[in-house]
Amino acid sequence: MSETGKLPLLKVNDIHVYYGAIHAIKGISLEVNEGEIVTLIGANGAGKSTTLNTIAGLLRPRQGSIAFAGMPVDGIAANKMVYKGLSLCPEGRRIFQQMTVKENLEMGAFSRPNEEIGASMERVYGFFPRLKEREKQVAGTLSGGEQQMLAMGRALMSKPTLMMLDEPSMGLAPILVEQIFDIIREMNHAGTTILLVEQNAQMALSIANRAYVMETGRITMEGDADELMHDDNVRKAYLGS
């Protein structure tokens, strides 16, 4: 239950995920309330991306349940989850390299009626003016930062109520990372709930309301982002001080 007494927007309850015989996620529970920025931090291989991919419907949990907007969504395919208002901006961006920036954005709105696309695109260009300048360019020729912007813009085109971002800072220069995180905050202010997976714990905790810390398939800590930022164990393990 959230503070306002409403059901959480996303409720993951004790899920277990396997890759063949490998037990990758060993019973994870987490909640995201409407309007929040929640972050999932942890080292490489802790299972953060696996968790997001499972919520998005790309992987199936062997045990446990997932509820989105009060409805159970276990076993619903990824392409159907988009229609329910959940969108994932995947690790490594995975933009369509051979399509133009504009076409990529159009594909992001695949689940929406055609009449909406123009307005959604203007909205995305509002967050990312750079994409408008590059509109006709083939996406594979964009710089790393621009590709990340495109991936986020594309995920925004489906008008999600919950947007999941997997490592948006990966491979970007510090100045770009700040810019990307500013935009994440802006998108949140504009009404999109955010679930953020990051290795850059410092940045993630600085914009999040709440956080979960993952280690080898389990959640080892959870709490307010501010508290975790000042927690000695977190500082030692993830903030390098």
């Binding site: 990824a78 369509f96 390299q97 051979q98 399509m99 159009e106 594909m107 695949f110 594309r154 489906s158």
Partner: protein, 293 residues
């Protein structure tokens, strides 16, 4: 004049290869598999037209539409029953299944229509074109084939670049997982790809048997393999590549037979393929494989 005549015939034969190659290349690009039963779908299409014209007395256009319909349903059924359950299996399993499906179609045709070659009827009675005071004569089938190829090429290019389904196909071809995240139904997209490829196979069956009017259960086999060669030649997965590869292959085959040796025609075709692949492993218009960072 012999040169011009060979040129026209080469482009015409190449157009048939190109239309068949489109089926191979689209399926490969989107489903990442080689559908070796594709050549036999051509044969089924040709038999449907043959039956429609010879036994059922249907008008020519209806025969062709019926064949396209039957092949579309056949292609989608093959995909659903044989290939879809193997979507996550190893590539070799799918390949063997496709070869098995090819034999199944050939032997079913053998059971229904027998082994004796049938003479394929000319659907449209048109006069032979005579140019340069009758020195160069072009058969109407030849022109229809080239024209059909151009129409199909333009239509398919527009479909892929403009329509929502066409764009979804490009997404699935590039990154299946990311396409799913956009809300694209990957299974449906693959199914539509098989439908289009098989409808084109029916047209190819008609064009092939109009130019070479001998029809039997193995009719689709050799053109199928040559069209596959054309697709690889042009760069498998690429639609313009299939077109270019098909037409070039037709030209090489006709000119090879005319100027080098009739018996070695097919050998020359495959020799050229081997040389091209040695120099450019991804084919003429194939994109070099990108390293994922």
């Amino acid at each position: 004049m012999a040169f011009l005549s060979n040129l026209v015939n080469g482009i015409s034969l190449g157009s048939i290869y190109a239309i068949i190659a489109l089926g191979y290349t689209m399926v490969y690009g989107i489903a990442k598999m080689l559908n070796f039963a594709h050549g036999d779908v051509i044969m089924v299409g040709a038999f449907i037209i043959f039956c429609g014209a010879q036994y059922w007395g249907l008008p020519p256009a209806v025969c062709i539409l019926l064949a396209m319909l039957v092949c579309t349903v056949l292609g989608m059924t093959i995909e659903k029953l044989a290939y879809k359950p193997l979507r996550k299996a190893a590539g070799l399993a799918v390949l063997i299944t496709a070869i098995g499906m090819s034999y199944l179609l050939q032997n079913t045709a053998l059971l229904i229509w027998g082994a004796n070659p049938k003479v394929f009827p000319g659907l449209f009675k048109l006069d032979t074109f005579r140019l340069f005071n009758g020195q160069l004569s072009i058969k109407p089938e030849t022109l229809i084939t080239i024209l059909a190829n151009i129409v199909i090429m333009v239509a398919l290019t527009l479909f892929i670049s403009r329509t929502k389904m066409g764009k979804a196909m490009r997404c699935v071809s590039e990154d299946r997982g990311a396409a799913e995240l956009m809300g694209i139904n990957v299974n449906r997209t693959i199914s539509v790809t098989f439908a289009i490829g098989s409808a084109l196979a029916a047209i190819a069956g008609w064009l092939l048997c109009s130019s070479y009017p001998q029809l039997m259960p193995t009719t689709g086999s050799m053109p199928g393999i040559k069209a596959f060669t054309a697709a690889v030649f042009g760069g498998i997965g690429s639609i313009p590549g299939a077109m270019l590869g098909g037409v070039l292959l037709g030209l090489i085959e006709i000119f090879g037979k005319a100027y080098i040796s009739t018996e070695l025609g097919d050998a020359i075709v495959f020799a050229v393929l081997i040389i091209v692949l040695l120099v450019r492993p991804t084919g003429l218009l194939g994109k070099p494989i990108r390293e994922k960072v």
